[in-house]
């Protein structure tokens, strides 16, 4: 079960793009108005630092995953605690992405389909993909999906050109100011920061050393495409109208009409999103199974698939109103806790403590460095 550098790139690219397009464009514009693209640039820079740190940590112990090396660095109990903190994030985020999937699909496409039918279908697909292919299967899937996503987005950008009006994103900086722009970058950053999941993936690579570069490239590429989509939405609808939309990136795709002939191509956006969400769910699903197995010292991680599947299905059915549940999750857990702790704090701590221990260890006896 190994993935190549290219596969890691496509996994992370696909992993980031779809959900960024759907749920970060709106909040960023709500805060930063027409300067949302600056928010995205800031988020990209900070996100790159997160990825850089995460990759550095993983490369300290290139043969061990996050769950294992956190125990190696901080000792058994503290390390296990950190493992649990991440597993909580992964278990709950699967449930939440499933809620989002149901909500979005019902809103835009299948208004009379029950929620559980959509969620169960997707979950079964994820279970199947993970069970049969493991991380290698996910990697190969993203090698196919990633280029499709890029192609579709480029097509969409070409189609929308005739509707763009540059005047809509002026004046730069004076309507918002620094604080709103920083606030606007929080949501994109909290999604880009999800790339810390590479701490699980790098140990599974052929050549872990490639991980850092590929992950950074994937992050920059996907946030470039999402920023482009944000600018398009702003240029089509203007900042005030866009700020009130829930899915601006989706709305501008719906608005495309070329000579009254190419119309209603929003289904392309849905396709891009579903492909991307499938990869995202699979990566988290795999990490949750694999991580739990390592934490509980279960040899065959596949045995835990059913546990994770049932838990995430139950989690996806809990909330009363999907919009409120997801928004609560993002604003009460994801941004205030997951972002500073899981994405920034712990990797930084592990990196510092890990490098110190390694240096000290090397002085005493080189064999101890694993």
């Amino acid at each position: 079960m190994r993935i190549s550098g290219i596969q890691l790139f496509w996994i992370l690219f696909t992993f980031n793009t779809g959900n960024m397009l759907l749920i970060t464009v709106g909040p960023a514009i709500l805060e930063a108005k027409q300067d949302a693209w600056i928010s995205f640039i800031i988020a990209t820079i900070l996100g790159s630092i997160i990825v850089f740190v995460a990759a550095k940590v993983s490369l300290l112990y290139p043969k061990h995953s996050l769950i294992e090396f956190s125990q190696l660095i901080l000792g058994k109990w503290l390390g296990s605690l950190i493992g649990i903190i991440y597993l909580v994030q992964w278990f709950t985020v699967i449930g939440n992405i499933l809620i989002e999937l149901g909500d979005f699909t019902i809103t835009v496409l299948l208004s009379r389909t029950p929620n559980w039918a959509l969620i169960l279908t997707m979950l079964l697909l994820v279970v199947y993909g993970t069970y049969v292919g493991g991380i290698e299967g996910i990697g190969r899937c993203s090698e196919v999906f990633g280029p499709i996503i890029i192609l579709m987005l480029v097509l969409i950008f070409i189609f929308i050109i005739s509707d763009l009006d540059v005047r809509n994103i002026l004046p730069v900086f004076s309507d918002s100011g620094l604080l709103p722009i920083m606030k606007g970058s929080l949501t994109p950053l909290s999604l880009l920061g999800e790339s810390v999941v590479i701490t699980m993936l790098i140990s599974l690579m052929d050549e872990p050393k490639q991980g850092q570069g590929r992950a950074l490239l994937a992050l920059v590429m996907s946030s470039f495409l999402v920023s482009a989509a944000t600018v398009c939405a702003l240029m089509v609808f203007g900042p005030n109208v866009t700020a009130k939309m829930r899915f601006p990136a989706f709305d501008f795709i719906r608005y495309i009409s070329i000579m009254d002939f190419i119309q209603n191509i929003e289904i392309i956006a849905v396709l891009v999103w579903i492909l991307s969400v499938f990869i995202k769910l699979s990566v988290y699903f795999f990490s949750a199974c694999y991580g739990t197995a390592q934490l509980l010292k279960v040899k065959e991680w596949r045995k835990l698939i059913w546990l994770v599947a049932v838990t995430s299905f139950i989690l996806s059915q809990i909330g009363e109103n999907p919009t409120i549940t997801v928004s609560n999750y993002i604003h009460k857990y994801w941004i205030p806790y997951a972002l500073p702790i899981n994405m920034i704090g712990i990797p930084l701590l592990l990196w510092i403590v890990g490098s110190i221990r390694k240096r000290n260890g090397r002085k005493k006896s080189p064999d101890l460095s694993l």
Binding site: L109, S111, T113, G238, V241, D251, R254
Partner: protein
């Protein structure tokens, strides 16, 4: 191996027959809703009228003298759109489907009462598109317009949209422009207007012949910041408005000159507004309008193949266009005092710091602003003839 292989093929094949979904809607279960008319009902009610295709008549190709109607209209009253739709569904055997809705009409009375708290459903539902043309019906109701038929277009509601596009107006982006303006401080919204008129001028005009009644585009309706309609501009003034907004697609400028007149069809139009704020907070605007196009008519002895004559025609047309545009701006400043041209947005974009203090009282500032117009027209094509063929050479030499 092979049995497993066959089994998986059978599984794949079965997908073809077992797939399906909850949201299957057969075309024969849908009423294709083409256009909506919004009118005042009783008290604070609204009345919604819909024009719906009759599918069997759309399919028949042997139209000709057959006067079978290709659409029918239904209407109902209610508190808001969805309430009305519920009341309307009792008259419809099929579920109303809005995916094909292209045009929305507002009755004049309805527009005067204000649109602010009424139109939300037009953007919330997933089957309606923001890409919609909207009109105010001058001196009439949406219901009347939707009951008219139009000889050239089978679903007649689309006629106004097509007329609108032919005229070089906003077309199906009208609703978006309205929404953007309604959400901005520096521009007041406008909605194109239509009226019910006769297809022929002159003696036929008075005849009570319904087949002679058609929809015609009638300029533009002006709204204040409460989204209540306050008045109209006529077709020509509407073109000037669109030119200043930078969204006009074509314009014919006819100018009298010497012994006749000339017409230029401008196809590439653009505008640029330059704000200037003097020390005592007086605002000056210069509107620079440009246009490129073809000489379509030249009823004079001037020879457009000669550079000096061509220049003469251009300059003369510029002068006429400038005078007309300035007149329109003055009229809006004086009669309505509402910045429908978006001068405020220009200040907002070019001088964002000053705008913060200016925006609170913008309509008054606009009404007193000093606005000048510069027009620059270029003729690219002159056609097949030089000077007109109808005048003698002796006249040309003069």
């Amino acid at each position: 191996m092979s049995s497993k292989c066959i089994f998986s093929y059978v599984l794949c094949l079965s997908l073809l027959f077992t797939s399906g979904c909850w949201d299957r809607k057969e075309l024969s279960d849908l009423a294709l809703w083409l256009a909506t008319g919004w009118d005042v009902g009783e008290e604070d009610n609204i009345q919604v009228t819909g024009q719906i295709i009759i599918p069997s008549s759309m399919q028949s190709q042997n139209g000709g003298g057959n006067m079978g109607k290709e659409f029918f209209t239904v209407s109902a009253k209610g508190g808001n759109l969805q309430d009305t739709m519920q009341n309307l569904q009792v008259k419809l055997s099929r579920q109303a489907f809005f995916g094909q809705r292209r045009v929305v009409y507002f009755g004049e009375e309805f527009a005067k009462l204000g649109l602010k708290d009424k139109l939300d459903a037009n953007t919330r539902q997933h089957d309606v598109s923001i890409r919609t043309d909207i009109f105010v019906v001058k001196g009439g109701t949406g219901k009347e317009v939707l009951n008219l038929s139009y000889p050239l277009e089978k679903p007649p509601a689309v006629a106004a949209l097509k007329e609108h596009k032919e005229l070089g107006g906003r077309g199906d982006t009208a609703f978006l422009y309205f929404l953007i303006a309604a959400n901005s401080e520096g521009i007041r919204p406008t909605i194109p207007a239509v009226e019910i008129g006769k297809s022929q001028n002159g003696e036929n005009e008075n005849k009570e012949d319904p087949s002679n009644s058609i929809i015609r585009v009638a300029g533009v309706a002006i709204f204040d910041h409460e989204l209540k309609m306050v008045g109209y501009l006529n077709n020509q003034e509407n073109k000037h408005l669109l030119w200043i907004l930078g969204i006009l697609k074509n314009l014919t400028v006819t100018a009298p000159i010497k012994d006749g007149n000339t017409s230029i069809l401008l196809k590439r139009l653009d505008s640029k507004i330059i704000p200037k704020i003097t020390k005592n907070n007086q605002i000056k605007f210069t509107v620079e309008l440009t246009g490129e196009g073809d000489l379509l008519e030249n009823n004079t002895v001037l020879d457009p193949a000669k550079p000096e004559d061509l220049k003469l025609i251009e300059n003369n047309s510029e002068k006429v266009a400038k005078k007309q545009v300035l007149q329109t701006i003055k009229k809006v400043q004086k009669e309505y005092g509402l910045d429908i041209f978006g001068f405020g947005e220009v200040v907002h974009k070019k001088k964002p710091q000053q705008w913060k203090s200016l925006k609170t009282n913008w309509d008054n500032t606009f009404a007193e602003a000093d606005i000048s117009v510069k027009v620059n027209l270029k003729i690219k094509q002159i056609g097949f003839t030089r000077s007109t063929l109808l005048k003698k050479e002796s006249e040309i030499i003069k």
